[in-house]
Amino acid sequence: MFPNGATAIRLENVTQRFRVIQERPDTLRELFSKFFRHQSSYHDFEAVKNASFEVPQGQMLGLIGRNGSGKSTLLKIVAGVYRPTAGRVEVTGTVAPLIELGAGFHHELTGRENILLNGLLMGYSKREMLEREQRIIDFAEIGDFIDAPVKQYSSGMYMRLAFSVATEVDPDILLIDEILAVGDAPFQQKCFERIQNFRRAGKTILFVSHAMNQVEEHCDRAILIDKGSIMADGPAHEVVEVYRSSMAMEVVGAH
């Protein structure tokens, strides 16, 4: 679909600022009292600071860093959930966000109904989803439960269906946010096999994980983020080393 070496994702000086409101004036009464006291009760917090990087088509890029470092925010910027405060974002191709699996599921609807609704939410047409329905059900190994409301599903079935919907739609870019930490070993294995297939098909993958061995094993490249800034960018095993030693330093320093 793309010439080799084309850029799938390009971020230029992207900053994402959140307004953290200590006492958010949720109601008009609070608003009036704030207004008359002339207080500002918020501060701005930059979850991502001036981040720039490019991801060539076909690369699997790992995003690593501590909790709250801004990895998920970056993923959501690429997914289009957030419009960044400053900077430019260019994404070429369709994106499947596996940010929180089953985000679009409704508990009262059946698995089949949820497949359609979820696909429509991701911007696919009804026809495309109906064509893929059987393959989604097969991969998820849901069986007869497909026509039962998803609230009756075990958490494993729920995850399998959600992963299956998100990946069966054949996106150009896959965003994966720590979702593979859940599910039993055989299912994890199946997920990784599917991710390998995506790689072989030349898809671009952004992979957020705390499991450094997964990042080392699967990613071509990794970016280390700390407090919203990019600290290191390079081959996965090197960046993982940097991260490991910085963590070790901190543990030593704390004692």
Binding site: D26, T27, V95, I99, G104, L120, L121
Partner: protein, 258 residues
């Protein structure tokens, strides 16, 4: 405005699926299911007919039809707003995780109520036949006021859906506004009951032009004056322009406030 038309067309399948979801969930776990969409207005009509033909007798013949011809569109209007005011906030989890155009949520709230309105026209038609009220050819004119009402309602759904994201009081204020609005609108009464010198005040209410066509064509078998039709569409488009402009201005920030 072209953007709104294009977005609606592009996401028509999603809007429809969300609207159906709304209805499915409402009637889930009830034995009669979707039938309630018909039975609800039917029972309401039965009660109203009994009350107004035996207990409270007005000098208006076939009062139930007189009332329902505008009460049903009004119910569509007020229910759509009540749904839509929560549309963005209730889907906050989704908005935070999936890049989905925000306009689909208030739209779906409106469409699900539009389906209900269509279904409630069936028992109304049966009532007209049952009471031996003339079945006027002017029923064919109904799509025109329906269109004006839909556009008018859509504008307000956009406004209230957006406003409620920032101030949750809006959903409470809306209920107060709707119940006051109900009584200042000639629904249970006719504008003729109002003394001539006060009538101009009632005519400031935009929705009277919008719902006027319903009562005229169903109850009186007449068509509204051209000036009234024009006024209804002016009100409808003013509502849509303002409502959508506000929604559009703030929609990218919803994700930070839900």
């Amino acid at each position: 405005m072209m953007e709104l038309v294009r977005g609606t067309y592009q996401y028509r399948e999603l809007i429809w699926a969300l609207a159906l979801k709304e209805l499915k969930i409402r009637y889930k776990r009830s034995v009669l299911g979707f039938m309630w969409a018909l039975l609800n207005p039917a029972f309401m009509m039965l009660v109203l007919t009994l009350v107004f033909s035996t207990i409270m007798r007005f000098a208006i013949p076939h009062y139930a039809i007189f009332l329902l011809s505008v009460l049903l569109p009004w119910t569509f209007f007020s229910q759509s707003l009540s749904y839509a005011v929560e549309a963005i906030v209730a889907n906050g989890d989704l908005i935070k995780k999936v890049a989905v155009p925000k306009l689909v949520f208030p739209m779906a709230a409106l469409v699900s109520n539009l389906i209900n309105l269509f279904l409630s026209l069936i028992p109304l038609a049966l009532l007209v036949l049952g009471m031996r009220h003339p079945f006027y050819w002017t029923w064919l004119y109904l799509p025109v006021p329906l269109l004006a009402l839909t556009i008018f309602t859509l504008g307000l759904t956009f406004f209230f859906a957006a406003a409620n994201v920032y101030y949750r009081d809006v959903s409470h204020i809306l209920q107060v506004v709707l119940s006051a609005w109900f009584y200042v609108t000639p629904i249970i009464y006719s504008l003729d009951f109002i003394p001539e010198k006060y009538r101009w005040i009632f005519k400031l209410n935009p929705i009277i032009y919008v719902i006027n066509g319903f009562r005229l064509s169903v109850y009186y078998g007449m068509l509204p004056k051209a000036s009234s039709v024009a006024a209804s569409f002016v009100c409808a488009f003013v509502s849509l322009f303002i409502g959508y402009a506000i929604f559009r201005k703030y929609q990218n920030d919803f994700v930070f406030y839900v």
